[in-house]
């Protein structure tokens, strides 16, 4: 029984992965964007160092930190857009009518996309960071970053799912996404480790999932031992649970009041 259910959702992951492989241009675009971002920031940190300005961490480490955070963020497929469009077009009516959990099916499809994107973007991160710094962090650190980064991307995908479901009420979830994204950038420490931020930002960040999703997994390349792997696993498990409850609650509310566009 459980195997049958798992096979169902695995099929959603497989078909989404097939679709992602067909939509290679979008992935190539992300890889190019990623390379540009890393190039710009590695030049910036070099210039800061050469100008003799104080930098709180080794510039090479900071480039690898950014490579890790961007890898986590860019690997998470923006499934909220597809969910929003399906709700707007009314195609959601088909998915709601299948003998599956709509939420789990969408998440499974998102994880299928993630499985295709993460390796390509990971390789981009690795080679670009190495090319721009001429340095590689200890491999043990990288081996820790990869599984935690993948897990963090999966949680971000689930959060995107929750944002997408808001389209049942809002139709356009872009404003919600923008706010969420900016919070992620700042409180998650996308560009810089959180230790470099003012104290009040760090205090606020503790109460959100963002540091566990970006700064904490990426901090292993800095060698700061900000968080242990065990503690991070616990935090990710906690925020996964919170996300699952929130998404499930949003969907139950949506399902009880759902109206399908176009009659």
């Amino acid at each position: 029984m459980i195997a049958t259910q798992l096979a169902k959702y695995a099929a959603f992951s497989r078909i989404a992965a097939s679709q992602a492989r067909r939509e290679r241009n979008e992935l190539y675009g992300r890889m190019a964007f990623f390379a540009v971002i890393l190039g710009v920031f590695s030049s910036l940190w070099r210039a800061v160092e050469e100008a003799g300005m104080p930098v709180a961490a080794d510039p090479k480490s900071l480039v690898w930190y950014l490579a890790a955070t961007e890898w986590i963020l860019l690997s998470a497929p923006p499934i909220h857009i597809e969910i929003q469009e399906a709700i707007r077009r009314g195609d959601v009516v088909y998915r709601l009518g299948h003998p599956v959990s709509y939420v789990v099916a969408e998440l499974a499809a998102g994880l299928g996309l993630l499985a295709v994107r993460a390796p390509f973007l990971g390789l981009t991160a690795f080679f670009c960071a190495f090319a721009f710094t001429g340095w590689i962090p200890p491999l043990t650190a990288l081996f820790i970053v990869v599984p935690f980064g993948f897990a963090a991307s999966a949680v971000i995908t689930a959060l995107y799912l929750g944002i997408g479901l808001l389209a049942f009420w809002l139709q356009d979830v872009a404003p919600v996404y923008w706010v969420w994204q900016k919070l992620m950038f700042v409180l998650g420490g996308l560009m810089l480790p959180l230790e470099l931020y003012p104290a009040f930002v760090r205090r606020a960040a503790v109460f959100t999932p963002f540091p566990s999703l970006l700064a904490a997994p990426a901090s292993f390349v800095l060698g700061t031992n900000l968080v242990t792997p065990g503690a991070l696993a616990g935090r990710l498990a906690f925020w996964s649970g919170v996300t699952a409850c929130a998404v499930s609650w949003i969907f139950r509310r949506a399902a009880s009041t759902v109206t399908i566009n176009g009659g």
């Binding site: 169902k8 099929a11 009516v93 709601l96 003998p99 176009g262």
Partner: protein, 336 residues
């Protein structure tokens, strides 16, 4: 024991709350930011009917009549506000997943096919979703691909398919799990004449072959006439008419279209209830309301002017029947 009726609706109702249209003026718009005015729209209003297993029923109504909403409640996607509904013995809103294994849905303006991938990939996915034995599923895909003449379409990315081709694939996708009941919401919308004819033929054949109960909504009377034997007409969410399609014509519109071929170039027929549509070149076409002027009286009048060489009498087009039905329906509901 299988249920006696495939579908049973009893006093089914559904309303939606929608935003009131915005008024102009700064004050109104500012107020609108804080408190939005909404109004309740009744989509389905105490609707009752039953469909026997194997029946092919056209579900007709003007835009906004409540057809799609009813279909979605039958499929368990929307929850009714009041009333009872059973589909194949299941209560859709409470037993959606169990019911989903027994029903198929086709929504003409929606798609369940993965856009970048060939339909075959979606078929494979649906095999898993509906928990079909892999061997049986492959045989089913082959059978339906043959019946619906999919050929190379099954392996062509959906984005390269025409609307008619895509619709054939959508219907195959909806039939893969051998549903006992198929809900079709405007399956021929936007298709050209030949694609429509093909879809209608295939639906009829498949329904006959597997005794699938069909409930079809459409604005195209061709769909109704060629696929269905019974019509249920609703407006404002209420039942207007329920009976055989042939009876819909006969009982609702007492009009015939008559064409006369005569020795005279034109005929002057000014009788009450008779509307001449065209006359000339020895041919006269007219509509006659039989409850005002009997057919014999018309023929007598024509014979007084010329010899009649031939005559054709047809029912009024179903489009006219439906239009007349809608026009008179807004005043009061007509019991079935």
């Amino acid at each position: 024991m299988p249920p006696a009726a495939a579908v049973e609706l009893n006093q089914l109702s559904k309303s939606f709350r929608v935003r009131r249209a915005r008024e102009t003026g700064v004050e109104t718009r500012v107020r609108d930011l804080f408190r939005r005015d909404t109004q309740t729209v009744v989509a389905v209003d105490k609707l009752s009917f039953a469909i026997a297993p194997g029946e092919r029923v056209a579900f007709i109504g003007p835009n906004g009549a409540g057809k799609s909403t009813t279909l979605k409640m039958l499929a368990g996607i929307l929850r009714p506000d009041a009333g009872d509904v059973r589909v194949l013995g299941f209560v859709p809103s409470r037993q959606r997943r169990q019911l989903a294994f027994q029903i198929g849905t086709v929504f003409g303006q929606r798609s369940q096919l993965w856009y970048q991938l060939p339909p075959r990939d979606t078929f494979e996915l649906l095999g898993r979703v509906y928990e079909i034995d892999p061997g049986e599923h492959r045989r089913r895909i082959d059978t339906l691909s043959s019946v619906f003449a999919l050929g190379a379409l099954a392996t062509t990315p959906v984005r390269h398919l025409s609307l008619g081709e895509r619709m054939r694939c959508e219907i195959v996708a909806s039939l893969l799990h051998s549903p006992r009941m198929l809900f079709l919401d405007e399956p021929t919308i936007g298709l050209d004449v030949s694609a429509k004819a093909m879809i209608r033929e295939l639906l009829w054949t498949e329904s006959e072959r597997e005794r699938v109960t069909l409930l079809l909504t459409s604005h195209d009377t061709g769909d109704m006439e060629r696929v269905c034997s019974r019509a249920i007409v609703i407006n404002h969410g209420r039942l207007l008419w329920d009976g055989p399609i042939s009876a819909l014509r006969r009982s609702y519109l007492k009009a015939k279209r008559v064409t006369l071929w005569s020795d005279a170039d034109r005929l002057e027929l000014t009788l009450p209830g008779v509307r001449v549509l065209s006359s000339g070149s020895y041919r006269t076409e007219l509509d006659i309301s039989l409850d005002i002027t009997p057919l014999g009286q018309l023929v007598d009048a024509a014979l007084r002017q010329a010899s009649i060489r031939d005559m054709a009498i047809e029912d009024a087009p179903l489009d006219d029947v439906i239009r007349a039905l809608y026009a008179t329906a807004s005043s009061a509901s007509v019991p079935s």
